[in-house]
Amino acid sequence: MNDFIAARSQMAISLGFHIVYSCIGMVMPVFMAISHYKWIKTGDPVYKNVTQAWSKGVAIFFATGAVSGTILSFELGLLWPKFMEHAGPIFGMPFSLEGVAFFIEAIALGFFLYGWNRFNNWFHWCTGMIVGVSGIASGILVVSANSWMNNPSGFDYINGQYLNIDPIKAMFNGSWFSESLHMTIAAFAATGFAVAGIHALMIARKKNVQFHTKAFKIAVVFGAVAAIIQPFSGDLSAKNAAKHQPAKLAAMEAYFHTQQYAPLVLGGVADTANKKAKYGIEIPGLLSFLVNDNFKDPVNGLDKIPVKDQPPITITHLAFDLMVVIGSALMLIGILYFVALWKKRSWLSKKWFLDLFILATPLGFIAVEAGWTVTEVGRQPWIIQGVMRTSAAVTPMPGIQYSFYLFTVIYFTLSIAVIFLLSRQIKMVPQLYDKVN
């Protein structure tokens, strides 16, 4: 394995795990705060139990997310020192604000976790809410830093020099809104379905049904709403990619030849040798419509991009399709939930209905991983779109493959530990959180 591929793989592994920890770390506190609110309002002790159980999950994920985030803040320099040397002053603004938001989150978490029976209920509730709000703010800020790599602005690149730097403009680049919106909604959808799925499993097993039903309801509402509105933000993101990263969009769609009435290919595999998408269903004009809002106008294909500037097509396309398929499935499940809520309440306790949610537990996170694969692999060969190549940014230190192996082991170990801890938390619900039922 050469150092460049090793560095990219290590970054991919690190981001791939961090995104899971951080999504849960930023969304769970919101669920927790909702349940806490219901307890304060209704006085129903089950809500208090749910809040306390969830707060343990938050603490575990916060700790894991904090260390994997610390690793990442160093990895940017350890693996990509040339990138950081130039990009740091330009896109660093959201990172420094994120540092602030994260700090506040850590302080609020200290208050919340250790604040039971110590503070006034509403003060205590506020600290929990602040954990959620600052977590989401952190997420938006970090994603806006990433969006700058996709759509760099706030500087002039003249003769290899980065001049007239404006960090604020860089932070509010043309992609920050669509990208962070898409990610924030995705975090709610993925976490909502994952949490709902676990509680659905416990309901199906008839364990602490009242407790798990209350928890399920809070999580599923967020997950379902997020999954239903996500396609709209996806459309925004795709239009943005068409405008600023035509190569990425073309790779996502395995769309090789620029044409009018550009078709959208559903499914299929990119055949890079013959420059076409195989085995897919073509819907003529739909890609033109999605990009241009009319069926006729052409969309730029991969033929407009020099081969040396094209991203890996097969991976980008497959990852994109996977994300879309899962996104659609979760949206349908979400709609089904609301149908059940309004018209068919008997479904809510049916086995098939619960099974659907149990099956959906990991789906949201698979979609998140696929989505980030599209974003990151689709940007290649650039680390800063159109400005700096990833290969020019990599560290000169040899032997990166060993650090890649090391971090792979660490992340897998950490994840196994987290799963182990969560399963013990769930197993202990009757003893620790919900003694009565």
Partner: protein, 337 residues
Amino acid sequence: MLYIVIAFLFLAIVLYFLLGGADFGAGIIELFTSDRNKDRTRKTMYHAIGPIWEANHMWLIITVVILFVGFPDIYSNMCTYLHIPLLIMLLGITARGTAFAFRNYDAVKDDKTQSFYNRIFVYSSFVTPLFLGIIAGSAISRQIDLQATSFMSAYIYSWLNWFSVTVGLFTVALSGYLAAVYLIGETGDDNERRRFVRKARIMNVLVVIFGGLVFIAAEIENIALAHWIFGNMVSLTAVISAAISLLALWLFIYNGKKKIIRVFAAFQVTMILLSVGYTHFPNLIMVKGGQNLSLLTNHAPAKTIEDLGLGLLIGSLLILPSLFYLFYSFQKKNELI
């Protein structure tokens, strides 16, 4: 604005040392506590640092962010030539951060897994400050060679030298010392207090021994440490006042004046950092051949520094009061219990 950013950088480094360092120290104290007293010590420790744990380690994030936004040259060179010690430090941070959280949030507290978390926690509490110290030592040891051609001279000898390693050990002892002094005030039990006083004394002796070793190592590596510290009034004053406050600390330690001894211990560490930092200011990294990386010349363009400074000022208005209130509330409530 550049000076405001630099001030925040030093503030973050000092606070990470004082707060994060004490957290490392707590693990080190645990490592050197006999099995008989371990549970009790652990309980006191957890009680003291649990609520503030995550916040203490945010200062490292703030330090890194200031470096890579404001001083990208320094950050990228550090990351390149000190890649290996940074990596080991990260392993340490990961291991102890998660082990600390896991041992408290494991729903089943059985001896086997608990002792597993404890082992990881104490060993990584030793490794992390060791490598933090090694990194700090390497930054000023002039062993980083920007022209290096071989793997060893570029990526190994930059940090693996007597000076850096003794600074690492000195940092470990200092962390343990800070923790022991802080913990004296956290317990209501007289026996335990006496144990912490004894630990503080041992750590204090270690600080002096390792401090001496740092001077010897500096001689071996041809580093003018004595000149740095005794060669100018500010550094000299800092060291002398640290020494005086050390004497004062030992006078007060037996009188149960816990607040004042904490202030003294924190003061001493700050003075040590000041005395070394002042001599080198504005250089943050001293490289082979004398071409140093300076905070005043190797910084980001003016507009970035302007925005970063503003961000830090606004951020600190949010962070500092709430952090203070966090410390205050749990300190007060702990006293009531």
